[in-house]
């Protein structure tokens, strides 16, 4: 009778210990999957696992609604989540996130518009203008800004745009000659009026990054607004395309800790590592999206070729415009409704 008792006790104790050990030293990070998460794994997760001696498990999230479902149902399993900064601004207003402790997470070197009480910018992506080199620019005349994107007489051809007002309104205003420095608050009526002039030439309204890359690869569109990382991947895959960073729109993804995250103290330490100049620079080595931490460009990790390639390097950033997540967090829902009506008219 004694032996089984001892054995089962031992197993029980071991299990308890394993479980508690696992609980203390593991976090679950959720991101967008694909090439993005591969880059985050190399730059953030692996080095942080080593430095903090923890295990970082991964999951994928499609957006704010995934976070909302977890927080609302009171069963939060994610410790850190990557979504778009615009969604972070909305989720923050709805109180879905834990506050970030800026004694642990060092935010110097990060643009203040990316540092908030309960979310922090993570990397920049750019919406740029690209064109099909098979059909555009054969005569040596290439489009140079959004005004050209809207000029269907000078540059005939099919346009493809993101099926979402964010970015499209900014682009319409820039094309209409609005000073980039005075873009916000957006003159919505003027933007939709300008958009209406382009509508007959918009052949395809894309709604996922993968789709936009496919459109430029297949030559389905002559001019397209596209995220620079997707475009770079398509071009490496043989897409016959060119693009310009001129008047590109800088947008960001963010990191957040969901309200009630199971390991939020550890998550805070991991987040501090992710935001450090070294890891931020390493991230840009693996993907064409640029670090939010400007100090990343001083680490020496990124060489001249990288600076030319990465969208948020000082050289490339100066010709681009920063999209206001504040404004979109405030007006996003209303604009999506108006966008849908505009499309159906």
């Amino acid at each position: 009778m004694k032996r089984p008792f001892t054995l089962s006790t031992a197993i029980f104790l071991a299990t308890v210990q394993l479980a508690s050990a696992a609980q203390a030293d593991e976090i679950l990070v959720s991101s967008g999957g694909g090439a993005l998460q591969d880059a985050q794994r190399e730059a953030f997760f692996k080095p942080t696992e080593k430095a903090l001696n923890i295990k970082i498990n991964e999951s994928t999230a499609t957006g704010l609604q995934d976070v909302r479902v977890q927080v609302d149902s009171g069963s939060v399993s994610w410790d850190i989540v990557d979504i778009s900064a615009e969604e972070c601004a909305i989720g923050s207003k709805q109180g879905l996130f834990e506050p970030i402790d800026y004694n642990i997470v060092k935010a110097d070197g990060i643009d203040p518009s990316m540092v908030h009480k309960d979310w922090i910018g993570q990397f920049y992506y750019s919406t740029v203008m690209a064109w099909n080199t098979d059909t555009v620019g054969k005569n040596g005349v290439k489009p140079k800004d959004w005004a050209d994107f809207y000029d269907v007489e000078k540059f005939p051809g099919t346009r493809s745009v993101y099926d979402h007002p964010r970015g499209n309104l900014e682009i319409a205003l820039l094309a209409d000659g609005v000073d980039p420095a005075k873009l916000y608050p957006l003159d919505v009526d003027r933007a939709f009026k300008k958009l209406a002039t382009l509508k007959p030439s918009i052949g395809i309204w894309w709604n996922s990054g993968a789709q936009s890359a496919q459109l430029i690869k297949d030559g389905e569109a002559d001019f397209i607004q596209i995220w620079n990382g997707r475009l770079a991947a398509a071009m490496r895959d043989g897409a016959k395309a060119e693009f310009t960073y001129n008047q590109g729109l800088l947008m960001a993804d963010c990191f957040l800790i969901p309200k009630g995250a199971p390991h939020k103290d550890l998550a805070m330490k991991a987040l501090a590592m992710f935001m450090s100049p070294e890891q931020q620079a390493t991230f840009a080595k693996h993907i064409d999206y640029g670090p939010v931490n400007a100090k990343a460009f001083e680490t020496g990790i990124l060489d001249d070729a990288d600076r030319k390639r990465v969208n948020s390097s000082p050289e490339n950033a100066k010709s681009q415009v920063m999209v206001s997540d504040e404004w979109w967090g405030e007006h996003g829902t209303e604009m999506i409704e108006r966008w849908q009506n505009f499309k159906q008219q």
């Binding site: 957006g63 609604q65 909302r68 099919t158 099926d163 052949g203 395809i204 309204w205 894309w206 709604n207 297949d218 030559g219 389905e220 829902t333 999506i336 849908q340 009506n341 499309k343 159906q344 008219q345």
Partner: protein, 278 residues
């Protein structure tokens, strides 16, 4: 009496299982969603429905869905009826082979077929390539990412749903009746239109109705082949949930779709009863 009652009870319980399943998986969720459609901003209101009347984009989307479904159903009838008729006139072996040809795409995933059409119809795709090689067109036509492309993809997907019920109805038709009409002096065309077509009516009817109703709920094909130019009800439902987390608005659209289908089925059953009585 007691024993009889007991055995009655035992006999009835297994029969209750489907009833319980129906109530818990169909009736309750429907009541739940139907109820949600009357809640907006945490209060009981008709806001989700008045928005559909006030906001013209909703009407445009509902009309677009009906239009797409009607066009697809019409073309499916035009292609499917002769196909089913032809199969019906063949020998058993040939008919089995031909039915197999109809069934193979039927068993292929809808997603795979939709992507195949994307490849076929795109600007540098097979169709445009041939048309250009033949010198029929100078510039590639916009076939994919359009209403046309969506229709083509849906027609291909819906054809088996139409052909199978129609074929089985045609098989039941006593061909001696057609022969008798011919023997009594009717021309081939007359015998076909006056005898065969009315007799195939129930199958034609069931097939078209099935096609139309299934078309109303299509999501994947308009999404992938429409290039953002074709917005149907199912896409608006999805948008209401993922963009706004607005279950009330999404449910209201579901209710509208259900009412449309209900009215159609009711009208169809009345019409069917009249056809049957003739």
């Amino acid at each position: 009496m007691a024993i009889a009652g007991k055995s009655h009870g035992v006999r009835i319980w297994p029969l209750a299982a489907p009833g319980i399943a129906l109530v818990s998986f169909v009736v309750l969720p429907f009541l739940w969603l139907g109820g949600l459609s009357f809640i907006a901003g945490g209060e009981i209101s008709l806001a989700n429905y008045t928005r559909m009347i006030e906001n013209s984009s909703y009407q445009a989307i509902i009309l677009r869905t009906l239009q797409l479904s009607a066009i697809v159903t019409l073309v499916v009838i035009v292609i499917g009826y002769p196909t089913a008729y032809y199969i019906n006139t063949r020998s058993r072996i040939a008919a089995t082979f031909l039915l197999g040809c109809v069934a193979i795409p039927f068993w292929t995933s809808l997603l795979v077929r939709t992507y195949a059409w994307m490849v076929i119809l795109q600007r540098n795709g097979i169709v445009n390539g041939w048309l250009q090689d033949l010198g029929l067109i100078e510039r590639p036509l916009r076939l994919s990412n359009s209403f046309l492309g969506t229709s083509v993809g849906m027609i291909h997907i819906m054809l088996p749903f139409f052909i199978f019920p129609l074929y089985s109805a045609m098989k039941q038709i006593d061909m001696d009746l057609v022969r008798a009409a011919r023997g009594l002096g009717a021309s081939r065309t007359n015998a076909f239109w006056q005898i065969f077509v009315p007799l195939s009516g129930p199958g034609l009817f069931a097939g078209s109705l099935l096609t139309f109703v299934l078309c109303l709920g299509f999501y994947v094909t308009p999404q992938l082949l429409g290039g953002g130019n074709v917005t149907v009800i199912s896409m608006k439902i999805q948008e209401n949930i993922t963009n706004y987390s607005d279950w009330g608005a999404a449910s209201a659209l579901g209710v509208v779709l259900l009412v449309i289908v209900g009215v159609l089925l009711f009208g169809a059953s009345r019409l069917g009863a009249r056809l049957g009585a003739q």
